[in-house]
């Protein structure tokens, strides 16, 4: 489904990714591991198309993602380092906006339910929430993205408490069980059973 071949990328004059290749099928879970600065975030950005590699290419269902553009974007959810929520909007408004931008239906009721699952107040401006709660507000999008075939998650467990980490781990496991693919990066042990995970070690 998702293939990357011979990815080469240089950052600040230093090669970060060298001849990296990977292939991912539906129903597979891939963990990107590595120390800080080993290129986990960079790899995820290359896979979602935000970064264009110096060499090699990423293909989605056989076609290069550079040509697919929005047709590829519609098939993926990328949650990056920054939570991508606006401080002046409420969690519910943020979630509705990000769903519409991603081309997903966001019924107000579904939005409220997703926020309730992550135990977030819907009508409080995000600026008044803690760092972990902002992270939850970003992750709540996963609950509305169950039909999207590829999830690319950068450090999804960072800043989460045990309950939220467990919920996120469950969501990822359920998504994979539905036959979709998930790539996530983490440098810490996660709430996911390691026997089901393929690991790619960077650095």
């Amino acid at each position: 489904m998702l293939e990357a071949s011979d990815i080469e990328l240089e950052r600040g004059g230093r090669p970060l990714l060298r001849g990296l290749s990977l292939a991912l099928e539906g129903g597979e879970l891939l963990r990107v591991a590595g120390a800080n600065g080993s290129g986990k975030t960079t790899l995820l950005k290359v896979l979602c198309g935000l970064l264009v590699p110096d060499g090699g290419e990423v293909r989605w269902r056989g076609a290069p993602i550079r040509q697919l553009r929005e047709d590829y974007s519609r098939h993926l959810v990328y949650l990056g380092h920054a939570p991508a929520v606006k401080d002046d909007l409420t969690a519910a408004e943020n979630l509705a906006v990000s769903c519409v931008l991603a081309g997903l239906a966001a019924a107000p009721q579904a939005v409220q339910q997703a926020l309730a699952r992550y135990e977030l107040p819907a009508d409080v401006a995000v600026r008044k929430l803690s760092q972990g709660q902002r992270r939850r507000a970003a992750l709540a999008r996963l609950l509305l993205s169950e039909t999207v075939p590829l999830w690319l998650l950068d450090e999804p467990f960072a800043a989460l408490d045990a309950a939220a980490a467990r919920l996120t781990g469950d969501l990822i496991a359920r998504h994979v069980a539905r036959g979709h693919a998930v790539v996530y990066s983490t440098h810490q042990p996660s709430g996911i059973d390691d026997s089901t995970v393929r690991v790619i070690e960077l650095g």
């Binding site: 979602c48 198309g49 935000l50 970064l51 264009v52 553009r69 929005e70 974007s73 519609r74 993926l76 990328y78 990056g80 380092h81 920054a82 939570p83 991508a84 929520v85 606006k86 401080d87 002046d88 909007l89 408004e93 509705a96 906006v97 990000s98 519409v100 931008l101 991603a102 081309g103 401006a125």
Partner: protein
């Protein structure tokens, strides 16, 4: 696609509403700059009448540039820009929606305020319409062209100064035709030619700028 446009418009207008001070500073800047000239030059009515179009247009130019900085910077900082780049709608359409929202809160108010400033310069009342119309046609061009610069200087240190150096020269044609149209009308001639040229600039920039903004955003987020 239409849903995405409405969503971005609604979101940006809502954000402006919740951060009213950002919008107010650019408008106050316009009023203050335009009010400084009579104080510096002296209150000779004929002189003021003759410099009014140029001064108001230059003030509009500067005020529009002042507000460009926040067009993409906040979205870039909190990661929402990445999500727009990965959105379901084409990037050019997203960029156009953002520029439209920006113009509605920073350009359109100038069109409304300008006749009040013109009063201060004793500009004859029949010219108010021409002035407002020239700003109505010209300020969207400023927003569209400026947004290309704002996208290119995103995340650059000292981007504000660089942005002015990049964008101000491109504003020159708008300034010439905008102020020129009011001058023509003041001289008793028809301003139609200048206004049509402004409209042409608007059409060309509305058609091309969004894609240039999109390309610039992709370059500066890499």
């Amino acid at each position: 696609m239409i849903a995405a446009v409405c969503c971005i418009l609604r979101r940006d207008l809502l954000l402006s509403l919740r951060r009213r001070s950002d919008v107010a500073t650019a408008l106050l800047f316009f009023v203050i700059v335009a009010s400084l000239f009579p104080l510096g030059i002296g209150a000779e009515p004929n002189l003021l009448r003759s410099i009014a179009p140029g001064v108001i247009w230059v003030a509009a130019l500067l005020s529009s540039m002042l507000s460009l900085g926040r067009l993409f910077a906040a979205d870039h900082a909190d990661g929402t820009l990445e999500q727009m780049l990965l959105g379901a709608a084409p990037l050019g359409v997203v960029a156009a929606a953002k520029v439209l929202a920006h113009w509605l809160v920073s350009g359109l108010p100038l069109v409304v305020i300008a006749p009040l400033i013109a009063l201060q310069y004793d500009l004859p009342a029949p010219l108010f319409g021409v002035l407002a119309l020239s700003l109505l046609l010209g300020t969207p061009v400023l927003s569209l062209v400026g947004a290309i610069g704002a996208a290119l200087t995103l995340g650059v240190r000292g981007g504000g100064v660089l942005l002015s150096l990049l964008v101000l020269p491109l504003y020159v044609p708008v300034l010439i035709f905008g102020a020129g149209s009011v001058d023509m009308a003041a001289a008793g001639l028809t301003p139609q030619g200048q206004l049509e040229l402004l409209a042409a600039l608007l059409l060309v920039s509305a058609a091309l700028a969004p894609w240039a903004i999109g390309a610039a955003l992709r370059i500066s987020t890499e």
